[in-house]
């Protein structure tokens, strides 16, 4: 069991900034995120794209914003459960909550802050009629352990970075790698496209384009895929394989949070914006893009503000009746949980003779 003061669901910008604000109040945070890395949409969807409305940054790349937020909250030593999706929440008799992930990791905290953005990222599944029958029987939408493909025949479908990167990686692991894409052009990084070209020339990757997988063949386990290729004239044929890996990107879904008994409106969680962004469940807050209230704007900068106010309410729940007054970091400095201290240099007084 992982214990903390504030359990944050979602490690995007709002969740990461919560760690800093909570740290100033001497509250410790742990974050859960379905993605394997922190940053949320900023690192998953658009790391190389600029953002222009972060105060004091005329321009910052989304990936750099994530790095800066991680650096800013580092001294408050946040814990991370990455690559796992928060599945259930149970209120305990002592008022704390236990949140369990899809992999069974349990977390306990008196305050839960949902900073889940648009939800957890789920793989987009291609529209192949019998694909559901082969899920985990040779069809994998996400590559978790590349070793299961060792000396196997693998077919990958997709035209983005993940399809290219995994084709390159598995070319050295699998017995055969076939990459199928609807077009001859790929939209991945230029390096990856060139590498696939090189591996294709060496005969390590078979490329089938423009084509798509239209069916899966097998009896209890994948034995092959049916492919439709549309060159001069359409032709259909089968490719023998042990695994079919469709990589068509991820799309966010509110997911299990929708079943937590929270008031939901427009795919977002209703909160009390007059006070502290608490949901209809006392002790559970929703901040950032995942919440809604009259006049809500889904902006990173609004998430930062919501996180800051939420932490004050969390302090009151965790330290009932304990006095606190807002302090400016410039005046009081920042004392990290790791023993570091940041502070403004002392004023120098010198006499003029």
């Amino acid at each position: 069991m992982i214990s903390t003061d504030i359990l944050i669901i979602g490690a995007g910008p709002t969740g990461l900034f919560t760690v800093f604000e909570a740290g100033l109040l001497k509250l410790k945070c742990h974050l859960i995120d379905a993605l394997p890395q922190p940053g949320g949409q900023c690192s998953e969807i658009y790391p190389k794209k600029p953002i222009y409305d972060i105060p004091a940054y005329p321009e910052i790349l989304a990936g750099d914003l994530t790095d800066k937020l991680l650096e800013q909250c580092k001294q408050f030593e946040p814990g991370f459960t990455l690559g796992e999706r928060a599945e259930t929440i149970e209120k305990q008799e002592d008022g704390t909550f236990i949140v369990t992930t899809n992999k069974g990791t349990k977390h306990q905290a008196p305050v839960v802050a949902i900073a889940g953005g648009l939800g957890s990222f789920e793989p987009r599944k291609p529209l192949i009629p019998n694909i559901a029958d082969f899920e985990d029987k040779g069809v994998e939408y996400i590559i978790k352990d590349p070793e299961i493909y060792r000396d196997k025949k693998v077919v990958i479908a997709g035209g983005g970075d993940s399809a290219l990167d995994w084709s390159i990686f598995l070319a050295d692991v699998a017995k055969e790698v076939t990459l199928i894409h609807r077009r001859n052009e790929f939209r991945g990084h230029l390096d990856s496209v060139e590498k696939v070209q090189e591996l294709k020339n060496q005969g390590k990757i078979s490329l089938v384009t423009p084509a798509e997988v239209i069916g899966i063949i097998g009896n209890g386990h994948v034995n092959g895929v049916a492919v439709k290729q549309s060159r001069e004239e359409d032709k259909e044929f089968n490719i023998e394989c042990d695994h079919f890996i469709p990589l068509f990107g991820l799309s966010p879904k509110l997911g299990p949070i929708a079943n937590w008994g929270l008031e939901i409106e427009k795919n977002a969680i209703k909160v009390n914006n007059a006070l502290d962004y608490q949901t209809n469940i006392p002790g559970v807050f929703a901040i950032g893009d995942v919440n809604t209230y009259p006049g809500k704007l889904k902006l990173i900068l609004c998430g930062f503000h919501e996180a800051t106010l939420m932490c004050q309410a969390a302090y009151q729940i965790i330290n009932p009746g304990k006095k606190y007054v807002l302090k400016y970091t410039t005046v009081s400095g920042v004392d990290g949980f790791d023993g570091t201290r940041k502070e403004a240099p002392k004023a120098v007084v010198k006499k003029i003779n």
């Binding site: 949409q41 969807i45 658009y46 794209k49 648009l118 939800g119 987009r124 291609p126 529209l127 997709g158 035209g159 983005g160 894409h181 609807r182 077009r183 052009e185 790929f186 939209r187 068509f248 990107g249 799309s251 966010p252 509110l254 427009k266 795919n267 977002a268 809604t292």
Partner: protein, 110 residues
């Protein structure tokens, strides 16, 4: 101020809406759909208009001269589902006076 144009949008439930779209606010079709809440929040414009998802895919049913498809839109549509010959990404269709009378249908959510 420029006059609004009329755009007809068939939502994912098959209901047709003829609405007024401003042409002087740099809005695109995806944003118009969101402004009129013709698809639930979180099911359209997920990437915010960066051509990095296909949640605003629509089928254009009128003969308007549309902006030429750029490489990124073409690439994104090549990975999308339910794609037809008249598929476009709503975020790439700007609301200009030339788009008056445009008729589109939202593609299914995927």
């Amino acid at each position: 101020m420029q006059e609004d144009i009329k755009v007809t949008i068939v939502d994912r439930d098959g209901v047709s809406h003829t609405i007024d779209a401003p042409t002087d606010m740099a809005m695109n079709l995806m944003e118009v759909v969101r402004a009129y809440e013709l698809a639930p929040e979180g099911t359209i414009g997920i990437c915010g208009g960066m051509v990095m998802c296909a949640s605003c895919q629509c089928y254009v049913n009128s003969n308007h001269k549309l902006p030429k498809m750029q490489d990124d839109e073409e690439a994104m549509l090549s990975e999308a589902f339910y794609v037809k010959d008249n598929s476009r990404l709503g975020c790439q269709i700007q609301m200009t006076p030339e788009m008056d009378g445009l008729e589109v249908e939202l593609a299914p959510e995927s």
